[in-house]
Symmetry: C2
Subunit: 489 residues, 2 copies
């Protein structure tokens, strides 16, 4: 693959200056279109050491409007990053609508280096690349113009470059011991990178291979790729118009939800039983920090299914200093300007902490699907995106518990009426609640598909018979205790 980037193309100074002028005007004009269309720009600058990744980043920043644009490089993890899934540091640098990021180094660096030094096998390497593909595909579908530049130098050219840099006292510091260490393994890196590029050069996120032997040629090729990608994306946006529509799905007569025995009710000493389960959760959750783990509990269910009550019982069992309840309502404008899951990534708990979600990232395949807020293509891909998200959480040691609270239509009506009677509960019932009742079937169908597609060993759904509140609350707290016990051993 790399042969095509070793044929020694170069550009003369005069031609370069002329080309830059045209190119710059193209890029700047296109950059302006970003804000108008709600797109954002991510430029990944990868490549061999000595190829001038940082120089390219500097050039791009100079050519573009630096406002709303930032360069990121990824060196050591901060401890706040260490305590979260690996991709957290990338999520937190994602630009919002209209903005851009130039990444020197990226999610490719670590897998490639580890594979080159044989710290991971082929299987794990491919797995890491699959994650990359999933992440990049998501970005592109979430309005990112993704430009991936790979700057290449032949073995000879790299060596020459290092020697040149070392010869000049002003630039000698730029060649590090690590550079030479990597250069020694040039052939090995070449093979690993070739595999990485071949596998991740998918249609949605192709690579632009740049011959970096001549810096003028390199800069023009890089800038040209950015201009092309921006212009193409803007032209496509002009055509595309997402068409959300209401989903008339009906749930099947027989399903995991219809089979729930809603007549179940709690018998016995409720306070004693609840206290026992809460104590279990209290003792187990205190071990999270020491074990390097954290806990996320997500609650879903129709209005008045009892999410709030169950959450309060669970919260009572936790150290309030380490627990937080997040309510998922309408996203803020910053959240809207980012990919759908960004709002959840940004809130991920640190080690030892617990976050309880009153409604969650499943809104995409529930309310947004049923109410037509998301186009079918968008909520359909969400199943895979969510599973990937939860897999990353599990890998990072986050324990994920998901609860679906099920009640009957009859019980819901009864609870709505009750709420109207208690002054400080009245706020809980809004016109939306009554409207949503009309869509009962559609919500049940959406819930069923969600449960089917997103129950994984790492993050299973617990279905809770919610008709009797006591039954439901005990079941929730007990399930969390069981899960903690299983995970913490």
């Amino acid at each position: 693959m790399f042969e095509s980037a070793e044929i020694g193309r170069s550009v003369e100074k005069k031609e370069y200056e002329k080309s830059v002028e045209t190119l710059r005007a193209r890029i700047l004009t296109a950059q302006l279109g970003l804000a108008r269309t709600g797109l954002n720009l991510v430029i990944v600058v990868g490549g061999v050491e000595g190829s001038g990744k940082t120089d390219v980043a500097r050039r791009m920043l100079g050519w573009m409007d630096a406002r709303g644009l930032h360069v990121e490089s990824f060196t050591d993890h901060s401890d706040e990053e260490e305590e979260r899934p690996r991709y957290w540091r990338y999520w937190r640098t994602l630009p919002g609508a209209g903005h851009g990021a130039i990444l020197v180094g990226s999610w490719y660096t670590k897998p490639i280096v580890r594979r080159a030094f044989k710290e991971i096998g082929e299987g794990d390497f491919d797995r890491a690349l699959d994650r990359v593909i999933a992440f990049e595909t998501m970005l592109v579908r979430e309005k990112t113009v993704l430009v991936k530049l790979w700057l290449h130098l032949s073995k000879k050219a790299q060596k020459r470059r290092f020697k040149e840099l070392e010869a000049d006292p002003d630039t000698a510091w730029r060649v590090t011991k690590q550079d030479w260490a990597f250069a020694k393994k040039y052939d090995r890196f070449r093979d690993v990178c070739e595999r990485a590029l071949a596998k991740t050069g998918v249609a949605e996120a192709p690579w632009t291979l740049v011959d970096a032997a001549d810096w003028r040629w390199r800069n023009l090729a890089a800038g040209g790729a950015v201009a092309d990608a921006l212009e193409r994306a803007l032209a496509e946006t002009a055509k595309r118009a997402p068409k959300p529509h209401l989903d008339p799905a009906k749930p099947p007569k027989l399903s995991v939800l219809s089979r729930l025995d809603l007549s179940r009710s709690f018998k016995g000493d409720y306070d004693k039983k609840l206290d026992k389960q809460q104590t279990r959760v209290a003792l187990l959750s205190r071990r999270l920090r020491k074990e390097g783990r954290s806990l996320i509990c997500a609650f879903e269910g129709v209005d008045a299914a009892g999410k709030g009550g169950a959450i309060r019982r669970l919260l009572n069992a936790l150290d309030v200093r380490n627990a937080r309840v997040m309510t998922v309502a309408a996203p803020t404008d910053e959240e809207l300007a980012h990919p759908y899951l960004w709002r959840f990534w940004r809130q991920l708990p640190r080690v030892g902490k617990t976050t309880i979600y009153d409604r969650s990232w499943y809104g995409r395949v529930l309310v947004e699907r049923v109410e037509g807020f998301a186009a079918p293509g968008d909520w359909q891909r969400a199943y895979a995106e969510i599973s990937s998200f939860e897999e990353e959480l599990a890998e990072a040691g986050v324990i994920v518990c998901k609860f679906w609270l099920q009640i009957s239509q009859h019980e819901q009506l009864k609870r709505f009426k009750e709420r109207g009677k208690t002054p400080y509960k009245q706020y809980k019932i809004t016109e939306d609640d009554w409207r949503n009742r009309d869509k009962w079937d559609a919500y049940q169908a959406a819930a069923l598909e969600m449960i089917e597609k997103t129950s994984t060993p790492d993050a299973p759904w617990t279905l809770v018979e919610g008709e009797d509140k006591r039954w439901a609350r005990i079941k929730v707290v007990e399930s969390v205790a069981d899960r903690l016990e299983q995970e913490l051993g």
Copy 2:
């Protein structure tokens, strides 16, 4: 002061339960009002060890709607916190409009403990308390309902409490060595706390002293204070309506701005001189990380004053991986839901990094003042708030450079017309720009007052004659180099 909280009041179980019911309804009803009025709630729970601060936090969380409410405790700094000013960790936990935070421990803890152990003298202690007052006053004026609870136990009651806890195997872990160490210094702590409470119990942010010997009395007193504060704030909001109005200020004939010699222009080899100054900045800025410092440069000036061009020359001198340009435009809704300076606190650079602001926090006393977006009371208090902000930056080792770029009205018009001719510069000129020209005098007057009130040794304004772009750019880059040299030695 504390005698009044040692008279041994208590509540019987039955009375307690009845009172809780009324209290809870009051608090919940008031909590609902927060979102409606755009207020937020911060409950500071301070007090002696063993008084049950966490218990009170748990109780409040249980009584209120836990959604949108979170409990924070402040233990060790993360490394991301270490690399920023001391209050950064508090700013990042501030709740947005409609939300609330319960803080177990707070900005009081460290000064009190350090003073009690004589690590700081009286002067530094008072200085820390002054900062507290400034911070809290700002919060209250920025729509925070601030409730400060101080839970008190007499020396005897504290000892009794620790022994009780230690006697029960379920609670023995809660009494730490540190608790006993603090208890030994009870009298010393008492004096220090008394001073802290007396000094910081200002009208805007009074303390509620709670007798914590009886837990029922303690909870009711704490809850009552929260309910009272919420109800009072809601009632006041109903009355108050901020009245922004246009500011007809005119600048004096003779001023530091009028005295600038705008005929100054750069003579000599511009490229060589610029390169020399950029190299100085490049070499100096590389030392920031090692010295534990960071750099913030803020640019202000009328439209077309040359901010963008100067910023680009400065950026060229920096390692792009460590530098970022922030453009200050309309705040996002999350930013609007927080105190004015929150958007700048959240972006503070880590050690070794540079942030360049194209317009800055001075917008409050410039555009917001002149256009009437901020009420007079709000922009007037901003001078002190901004000075305090910059003082905190300086204390944390952040080097702050501020530039005012001055051009004549004539030159501005010329530049507007030029912009219209270059395709990729056209976007730079909008209708707003033409409109702002009409307010030239008002902007000049606002700038003058700003320069006068916020030039401090830590963060001086550099006034730049902007008529000749080359002169201005050299002066900016050279000033940054000089400043870095002076600060880094």
